[in-house]
Amino acid sequence: MGLLDIFRRQPPSAQVAKERLRIIVAQERGARGGPDYLPLLRRELLEVIRKYVNVDPEAVVINLERDQGQEVLELTVALPDKIQGAKNATAAGAKP
């Protein structure tokens, strides 16, 4: 160990663990609570949309919000701009 390493200490591993957990737990909690069919719904919607427009898998966002006993299913599809879309369509078309 060089003298300089003393000053270049890595953060304690417990702190790294905590930080990693904080992120993954928040992410997993966000996905939880919704009905089990949400991921499948998202995938099937994506397939349908892709028949017409070539969107990115990440472009479909499904949110379920609960508000005083009322549930709102919010669906956002970010459409690609035309040139990009055409490019993607050819690229996708080339694939089997």
């Binding site: 304690p12 591993s13 417990a14 663990a17 905590k18 737990v25």
Partner: protein, 270 residues
């Protein structure tokens, strides 16, 4: 009034059975009538930890299938008058447990006047784990201060909040408690292990107990004597504190700081 408490964790090997056995003994040592049930069908182990493995004649699945009465299957503890064990079956049939069957046994235990029924959950999130938590009023979530255990516990918390009878009925929620096991104050102080507050913050749970890492746990399971009965051990004291908190007493946390070592101890080590 019977209270049903599930001891669960998601991850295996974190101390569910050790905790179930010790908490059951702790409650019984205070005069409560306690039944502790092993839900790990196919992998029976609670009987070994409780030291009654040679007295198992009938098991949980036998009772559910009506092959014996509940009274025949309950094994009375030799040390504590008010403590009974219901062993898991060694069957390989995964569908041996049914929700109706489990509910029937729990209702019968209620009718028998038990104060507490502890359900020792198997690891994982399969049927056994699901049924162990389904009828629970309270849950003790056993966690090691380690990333995979904490993450799995959070998953279990999600299930407790949705896949239990209380949650499904919309009538409230299962009361959840965090129990940290294998805690090493020395490693926490060195920044090598997450501390109580870290885990508490991530999971957002009340801490019902912190059990220090100790060789006493293995010695106890070797002997078939729940570790809480080893009065010499800090682990026993920590479990007794947890029992007190479960019973609603306010007890400060112990064994979460490294003991201060005197000058001579530091000089000579040990």
């Amino acid at each position: 009034m019977t209270e049903i408490i599930v001891v669960t964790s998601g991850k295996g090997g974190v101390g569910k059975t050790t905790t179930s056995a010790s908490i059951a003994c702790g409650l019984a040592s205070r005069g409560k009538r306690v039944a502790v049930i092993d839900f790990d069908i196919g992998l029976r182990n609670l009987d070994l930890i409780m030291g009654c493995e040679r007295r198992v004649v009938y098991d949980f699945v036998n009772v559910i299938n009506g092959e014996c009465t509940l009274k025949q299957a309950l094994i009375k503890d030799k040390r504590l008058e008010t403590l009974f064990v219901l062993a898991a079956s060694q069957t390989r049939d995964k569908d041996a447990l049914s929700a109706e069957g489990v509910e029937r046994v729990l209702n019968e235990l209620r009718a028998e006047g038990f104060d507490y029924v502890l359900c020792d959950s198997p690891a994982g999130i399969e049927k056994g784990a699901h049924l162990a938590m389904y009828f629970a009023d309270r849950a003790i979530v056993v966690v090691n201060p380690e990333v995979s255990s904490v993450r799995d516990s959070d998953r279990i918390l999600g299930l407790l909040a949705s896949k239990t009878r209380i949650a499904e009925g919309g009538s409230g929620r299962v009361q959840e408690h965090l129990l940290l096991t294998r805690y090493s104050p020395r490693r926490v102080a060195a920044g090598e292990m997450m501390g109580v507050d870290d885990v508490k913050e991530i999971l957002g749970l009340d801490v019902v107990g912190v059990i220090p890492e100790s060789t006493d746990v293995l010695s106890a399971s070797n002997a078939g004597t729940p570790v809480i009965l080893n009065a010499e051990s800090d682990v026993s004291r920590a479990y007794h504190d947890a029992v007190s908190r479960l019973l609603g007493e306010t007890v400060p946390l112990r064994f979460i700081e490294e003991p201060k070592r005197g000058f001579f101890a530091r000089l000579f080590g040990g």
